[in-house]
Amino acid sequence: MKLVMAIIKPFKLDEVREALTSLGVQGLTISEVKGFGRQKGQTEIYRGAEYSVSFLPKVKVEVVVADGQADAVVEAIQKAGSTGRIGDGKIFVLDLQTAVRIRTGESGDEAL
């Protein structure tokens, strides 16, 4: 199994979720993060003083999928999450040892 972890622009969340569910993904977990990268935060003025916002709001999507599905998932996220503008984010793939469904204790691919 793979843990696919994607950092995306917040307003792309709905599209990414739909892309994943249409691939048959049954579950995913998101969290609110802030990102620092090539996309520079605006230089803001707060009360007359320059103020560069280095961290920008992003959403992290974590989805665990069976090994065979990982590539499709990565591709789906990449397509749905892309605006072509800097700051679209990254997708990271990690190897997972096990997954367990808390409700039933099932493990492995059944747990997803």
């Binding site: 917040p10 307003f11 969340l13 709905d14 802030k34 709001p57 992003k58």
Partner: protein, 447 residues
């Protein structure tokens, strides 16, 4: 006959009848210097209206205080309950409450009827009254905002686990029946007023009554899941302290209306001089409560507890409410400070008794209310401790038992308590289907 001698003890001491005094003044003083009767009528009415809108504003104060002291997941519900209470209280007081309290009071109860205004002194030819008086509607308005305050007190104590509709039904009974009947005993000119019980603006009649009803509710409904586990108290900190602070300031402001308007007249120099004293004492008692709570929490816990400071302000206000006129300013500070001390000790004491009072309303309104009522004889020579105790006990027993019965009936019929799951998930989701702060972080979109 409608008759109110809220200020029975005090007016007897001054040697003039409450509102009659206005007429007397208008007659006795030299023509060039005295306020005429219609002018006094206007001033008296204005006092009810102006002080009335200040007391109305306390509804917002209770809403913010309570919205700030519950957890996020119950905040919408708390806002909803508070606006509902204020609405229900007004309608009920119109339908039956006011007349139960003030119309043809037999000693123990007024009459069951819908209120309507009558102002015989105003005719097509202008004002023909011989005594000043006030517009009947302004009095109704002022009395109505008081009953709403009583109901708001209950809402805070039973927060985070009571179901909406049973709570609203209790509010109907409280504002339509429980409150007005006991109110008739004193302010309606009933038996307690005959006896000389003195409660100027309602430490007992408004605040303790709310506190008793809240206490009965807390007992019948039980503590929040997880609050008392294995003999230990698990605090559940309020989610938004600036809101609670705002609520306290709103209540403080509104209290000038609460106590100042309870002078019931503003048409003579003496009356408005008295209102000035009331403002001062009200303010200083609250200040005393804050300072006492701050010092005490610093000494006891090495930290200053903001929520105790807020409760201290309110306890100071409740304490002075039974007699905001007679004390010298210094005494007012002390009365309020004792209120602040009371609340610092009462809140953990209730916890020890496993009574779960989410916002500390029982400590603030009931216990400090008792203290305030007992403190009346300190400055008001016409009040006696014995009569004060009779008033406290009779009103307390009546309200507590009546409330206990109503809560219990609600419990065994439709149920008063949210399911365990709803309590865990928060009442906002269960009863309102709506989160108070629905957004998941600043950066996120609609999800």
């Amino acid at each position: 006959m409608k008759f109110k001698n809220l200020r029975f003890g005090r007016s007897a001491r001054l040697g003039v009848a409450a509102l009659g005094g206005l007429g007397v003044a208008a007659m006795a003083a030299p023509a060039s210097a005295a306020t005429d009767v219609e002018t006094a009528f206007i001033f008296n009415t204005l006092s009810f209206l102006m002080h009335g809108f200040l007391v109305m504003w306390m509804a917002a104060g209770f809403a913010m205080l309570e919205a700030g002291l519950v957890r996020t997941k119950n905040t919408t519900m708390q806002c909803l309950k508070n606006i509902a209470i204020y609405s229900v209280a007004g309608i009920l007081y119109y339908l039956i409450g006011y007349n139960l309290m003030y119309m043809d009071v037999s000693g123990f109860i007024g009459s069951f009827s819908i209120w309507s205004a009558a102002d015989p002194s105003i005719t097509a030819d202008g004002f023909v009254g011989e005594e000043a008086g006030y517009a009947a509607g302004s009095d109704w308005f002022f009395q109505m905002v008081f009953v709403a305050a009583t109901a708001s007190i209950v809402s805070g104590t039973v927060a985070e686990r009571v179901k909406l509709w049973p709570f609203l039904i209790f509010t109907v009974v409280l504002t339509g029946i429980i409150y007005p009947i006991q109110g008739s005993w004193t302010w309606g000119g009933g038996w307690l007023s005959e006896m000389g019980f003195s409660d100027f603006a309602g430490s007992t009649i408004v605040h303790s009554v709310g506190g008793w009803a809240a206490l009965a509710g807390a007992i019948v409904i039980g503590a929040r899941k997880g609050k008392f586990v294995d003999g230990k108290v698990h605090p559940m900190p309020g989610a938004n302290l600036p809101l609670a602070t705002l609520g306290t300031f709103i209540l403080w402001m509104g209290w000038f209306g609460f106590n100042g308007g309870s002078q019931l007249a503003m048409g003579t120099a003496a009356d408005i001089r008295d209102i000035s004293s009331i403002y001062i004492n009200t303010n200083l008692a609250a200040a005393g409560g804050v300072v006492a709570a701050i010092i005490l929490t610093q000494v006891m816990y090495k930290k200053v507890d903001l929520t105790m400071a807020l409760n201290g302000a309110l306890a100071g206000l409740v304490s002075i409410t039974a007699e905001p006129l007679a004390p010298a300013p210094g005494l007012a500070v002390i009365i309020g400070a004792i209120g602040g001390v009371i609340v610092v000790f009462a809140v953990p004491m209730l916890d020890k008794l496993k009574i779960d009072d989410v916002v500390g309303a029982v400590s603030v309104h009931l216990i400090a209310g008792i203290w305030g009522t007992l403190a009346v004889p300190l400055s008001n020579g016409d009040a006696s401790f014995v009569t004060q105790i009779v008033g406290i006990v009779s009103i307390g027993a009546y309200t507590f038992i009546f409330s206990l019965i109503v809560w219990t009936i609600l419990k065994v019929t439709i149920g008063v308590r949210a399911s365990e799951e709803d309590e865990v998930d928060g009442l906002d989701k269960a009863e309102c289907g709506m989160e108070a702060y629905p957004e998941f972080g600043v950066g996120s979109q609609r999800m």
